[in-house]
Amino acid sequence: MTLEDTTNMSEKQVRRGAAQQKLLAFASLIVLVIGFSLASPRFFQIDNIMSILQATSVNGVLAVGVTMIIITGGIDLSIGTLMTFCAVMTGVVLTWMGAPLLVGVATGMATGALCGLISGTLVAKAKIPPFIATLGMMLVLKGMSLIVTGTKPIYFNDTEGYTDISTGSLVGMVIPQFPLPNGVLILFVVAGIIAWVLGRTVLGRYTFALGSNEEAVRLSGVNTDRWKMAIYALAGAICGIAGILISSRLNSAQPALGLGYELEAIAAVVIGGTSLSGGRGTITGTLIGALIMSVLTNGLRVLSVAPEWQTVVTGIIIIVAVYADQLRRRSAN
């Protein structure tokens, strides 16, 4: 039958296309890396590459978390200040209460999950638009961090090994030539887990389905509210991880930090090809987006471009990169 033929053909085509697509998705990133390497011999040095990766870790983790929310068609503006609040709570437990490391880490993630659950409840149950619900949360959490800490940073000097969470290198202990910071390792592990969740589990399937057509999912008898709350809570827990990473890197919970990080993370997600209207997106894309942003920032600095020109060039390259990606997708169609 004709259809049978076409099926086979398309199946093959689709697979080949998909592989090409995946490679080409990296194109902008690779072009950037090659460009900077040619422009400065200092750029493609193992140390600098590690700096770039390290600089990606916090933003990358945040971006992975918010990717899920964006796929549902929502948005989370509170991720930056939530990250800080989680760091603060970790600091409170570890430094003020002297709890063991693991309890601190658990507290950070639990705080994130709880706050995410609150946002999720506001969105799902109270039907407050995600933009507003999380804008409100962003302000509340910003204030809470300052209140809890009394506006002073909490230092982790007494917690043995806390800085190693982000800056140590398990990989480096095995392969000394490749001192990949733990923070980056954690980013990859988190990204891997979430990619798996999105691709293989019921939660992931509903994440996409909610963004694609929430009403249709609800009318399929799915308890959409509960799933949405779960997704926000999971994203919150991931913000908790970001909070632990950043505070471990700074050896302190900086209560004023965090505002503006949400925009950067969302930018990474969108540069990575996830649509803000929901229903489609990939974790690989988000990682590429986050990497593009940190390669750009680092590269321009290594080239000693004046800071005001750095901003201009960053703006232009982001547009061009996304445009190139757009063209690729269109031609793939």
């Binding site: 200092r42 040095q45 140390d47 600098n48 700096s51 390290q54 600089a55 916090v58 300052l146 506006t151 002073k152 940073p153 230092y155 000097n157 800085t163 800056t167 950043i246 890197r249 700074l250 050896n251 302190s252 900086q254 209560p255 004023a256 930090l257 965090g258 505002l259 503006g260 940190s294 920032t297 680092n298 600095r301 290594v302 000693s304 800071p307 750095q310």
Partner: protein, 289 residues
């Protein structure tokens, strides 16, 4: 032919204060024949951004590096890295909790703000209500200037009541609105202290728009503050010596990288200026537009 390269990582670059520091650094760079770059994050909360900048600067294997740390501890791991790579570190504007920096060129912000408090006390006659519009609740300079001012008032002028301390992020417009709200809530207020250029201009604007009669004391320099002091709208302001900070930092960096020894602490000082002394040569030298 390879010029020495010295990057300065500051707390910001858009504010006039930092631009003045940059000016001094560039001047020293030109005089001493070294390449100087100057950058800093968008605002003073971005501790990790500053660390990324420092990392990128160290990747360039400079002769020495200058750092105005946003957090006195968070930069230490990277400073250790610099030490291992034998890159000397000069701290400027504010110090770090470590003996790695071979020199520190800074201003005592606490003392500077205390001087502003003394002047405020004098000018309002030792009693009445005043307010503070600070630029940050968390950054070191913000905290030091607020505390320096508030403590001095409490100690020396028990009859003066500080009705509120608000924070305007150094944003001119936000500080304007804050000032107006303070004036609305406290019509009998006698003085307001703005803790950096943006805050001071905001206070000035707010007072102007409300048509209030208030003693305004500012901090830092800039054309608008200088004009307002000349016209008497602003009673006076504290200025640091940003050009000097930049200049001394680069000078020390060059010296250290050539193996010379430098004094551990360079206090670049601060000055009170008002209508009476604004044109005096030693003051004019530390003011900037």
């Amino acid at each position: 032919q390879d010029k020495l390269y010295i990057p300065l990582i500051s707390k910001g670059f858009q504010h006039q204060f930092w631009q003045a520091v940059k000016l001094g650094a560039d001047k020293a760079g030109a005089e001493l024949g070294v390449d100087v770059t100057f950058e800093g994050p968008d605002n003073e909360t971005q501790v990790d951004k500053q660390i990324d900048m420092l990392a990128a600067a160290l990747a360039k294997q400079p002769a020495a590096v200058g750092i105005a740390a946003l957090d006195s501890q968070a930069v230490i791991p990277l400073l250790k890295k610099a030490q291992e790579a034998k890159i000397p570190v000069i701290a400027f504007d504010s110090g770090v909790d470590s003996d790695i920096p071979v020199a520190t060129a800074s201003t005592d912000n606490m003392a500077a703000a205390a001087m502003a408090a003394d002047k405020m006390g004098e000018l309002i006659g030792g009693e009445g209500k005043i307010a503070v519009v600070a630029h940050s609740q968390t950054s070191l300079t913000g905290v030091h200037r607020r505390d320096g001012f508030v403590n001095e008032i409490k100690e020396k002028f028990p009859k003066i009541e500080i009705v509120t301390v608000e924070y305007g992020d150094g944003d001119h417009l936000k500080s304007t609105e804050i000032t107006k709200a303070i004036l609305a809530a406290n019509p009998d207020i006698k003085g307001i202290f703005g803790s950096n250029e943006g805050s001071a201009i905001g206070v000035l604007n707010g007072v102007r728009e409300m048509g209030a009669k208030v003693v305004v004391i500012g901090f830092d320099s800039g054309k608008a503050q200088k004009d307002a002091i000349r016209s008497g709208e602003m009673a006076g302001a504290i200025t640091q010596n940003p050009v000097g900070i930049g200049y001394e930092t680069v000078k020390a960096a060059v010296a250290v990288s050539k193996g010379e020894t430098v004094p551990k602490n360079v206090d670049t000082g601060f000055y009170w200026y008002d209508k009476s002394n604004i044109d005096a040569p030693e003051i004019a030298a530390v003011l900037y537009d």
